[in-house]
């Protein structure tokens, strides 16, 4: 959707930048160690009037129940700290969010909180996603997926579904600790 800034509203890129920072600074309700900017879900912040702003938000998973709470938090912060009277949060689906949208800082924070960050696919070109049989013996060690507790690359998948839609449950075969893995969605 294209929303032209009304002619009576002078462009104010500094203000828009400030609003973008505010919206991006909202913590994720389910992964509070991450901001929405680090998660990569704030797609755009655009003033639509002198004290009106529209924010484009994209969900990680279609059914992610945190989206509503994110939208409320964005509205609150842009009203209270951004001085906006009218805040509209619009959900956008295309282009679909991928785990490559999580920033390096976001990955670092996930690992620090005991959640193995998703492996990136973008820098090394397309990576075929293999979802074939896993029952024939242990999988080869995945060197870029490490136990967030002890750092071992010897981990195994317990279930591709875990405490939230975006995580898988794994176990470290070195220290025996289970851990969450922010699973790849590319």
């Amino acid at each position: 959707m294209v929303t032209d800034t009304p002619a009576d509203t002078p462009p104010d890129t500094a203000l828009e930048e400030r609003l973008r920072e505010l919206a991006g600074s909202v913590p994720d309700p389910e992964l509070p160690m991450l901001t929405l900017a680090e998660l990569g879900v704030v797609r755009g912040v655009r003033r639509t009037g002198a004290a009106a702003v529209e924010v484009e938000l994209t969900p990680t998973y279609t059914g992610c129940p945190a989206v509503e709470s994110m939208a409320e938090d964005i509205e609150r912060v842009l009203r209270e700290r951004g001085g906006m009277a009218e805040v509209r949060v619009r959900r956008v689906l295309a282009p679909a969010w991928t785990t490559d949208d999580i920033t390096p800082e976001g990955r670092r924070k996930l690992a620090e909180a005991g959640i193995a960050p998703p492996r990136t696919t973008r820098p090394s070109g397309p990576v075929p996603v293999t979802l074939s049989t896993r029952r024939a013996g242990p999988a080869a060690p995945e060197t870029d997926l490490r136990c967030p507790h002890c750092g071992s690359a010897e981990t195994e998948l317990l279930s591709p579904f875990s405490s939230t839609a975006c995580k898988a449950l794994r176990r470290c075969t070195a220290c025996r600790e289970p851990f969450d893995h922010f699973k790849e969605l590319t």
């Binding site: 998973y61 619009r90 959900r91 295309a94 979802l131 591709p160």
Partner: protein
């Protein structure tokens, strides 16, 4: 359930009638299967499966909300329609049965949904359902993998698990022909979809030491009619439970 537009689903683009018909069919598939899977909560064989089935149900619910919002008010559509107004295929409304039968339903449906969404996503972002399809197809890949892994474990497991998987696949076979009847508003190569579905499902079953069931799917005596609002007897009871709270407390919120 409130007057303000819900930011989780609010979309400025109202669908044209043909797109709305397609969105309603796919949205009802997702909604009804989501509810069936949620019935496992508290009953799944192990905790990891409880979490997995609830997660799959949640993905489907998100798809349903997006699709139904293209048609009208999502709550009204979900909770205030009568049975004959639902356009889901009969496969998704079938009771859970035992765990193997639920896995059989998941295998049949997730392979179908992945192929269908794949085709819709290929229509490009200008196609009204393409953004949702492009996003959801990635989630459904995980659902299909889940069903596939369990089909392999159960089929190539013990004598009992093999027999139960076989029984689940057989019981639902007659509902699979309906999946490939053309739906208004969806630009899909249905014959190609069916061929790909048979190949994929057949391949999984072969690896699981099983075979495609025999018996009618689309000709002779077979089930179907869900897309025209004709549903099987268990669906009414499912809807009664699903809609009861909303109908008892209209407009309630928390």
């Amino acid at each position: 359930m409130s007057a303000a537009p819900d930011p989780a689903t609010a979309d400025p683009a109202a669908a044209d009638p043909a797109t709305a018909a397609g969105a309603l069919a796919l949205g009802d598939d997702a909604l009804v299967l989501s509810h069936r899977l949620a019935e496992w909560t508290g009953h799944a064989p192990v905790l990891e499966e409880e979490v997995a089935l609830a997660n799959i149900a949640l993905d489907l619910l998100g798809q349903a909300r997006t699709l139904l919002s293209l048609v009208g008010d999502e709550d009204e559509l979900a909770f205030l329609r009568e049975e004959r107004a639902f356009r889901n295929v009969q496969l998704v409304e079938q009771p859970n049965g035992d765990f193997a039968q639920t896995i059989a339903r998941q295998l049949y449906f997730s392979v179908y949904q992945e192929l269908l969404y794949g085709q819709l996503a290929a229509g490009g972002e200008a196609a009204p359902l393409a953004p949702l399809a492009a996003k959801a197809v990635k989630e459904v890949a995980y659902h299909r993998d889940h069903a596939e892994q369990w089909t392999l474990r159960l089929g190539d497991g013990t004598e009992t698990s093999h027999a139960r998987m076989r029984a689940g696949l057989d019981a639902l076979w007659r509902y699979t022909g309906e999946l490939f009847r053309p739906v208004e508003g969806l630009a899909v190569d249905w014959a190609g979809l069916e061929a790909a579905w048979l190949e994929t499902v057949g391949g999984v079953l072969e690896r699981a030491t099983l075979t495609l069931p025999e018996g009618p799917r689309a000709t002779g005596w077979s089930a179907g009619g869900g897309r025209e609002g004709v549903h099987t007897e268990p669906f009414g009871r499912m809807l009664a439970e699903m809609q009861h709270l909303h109908r008892s407390h209209p407009g309630a919120s928390w």
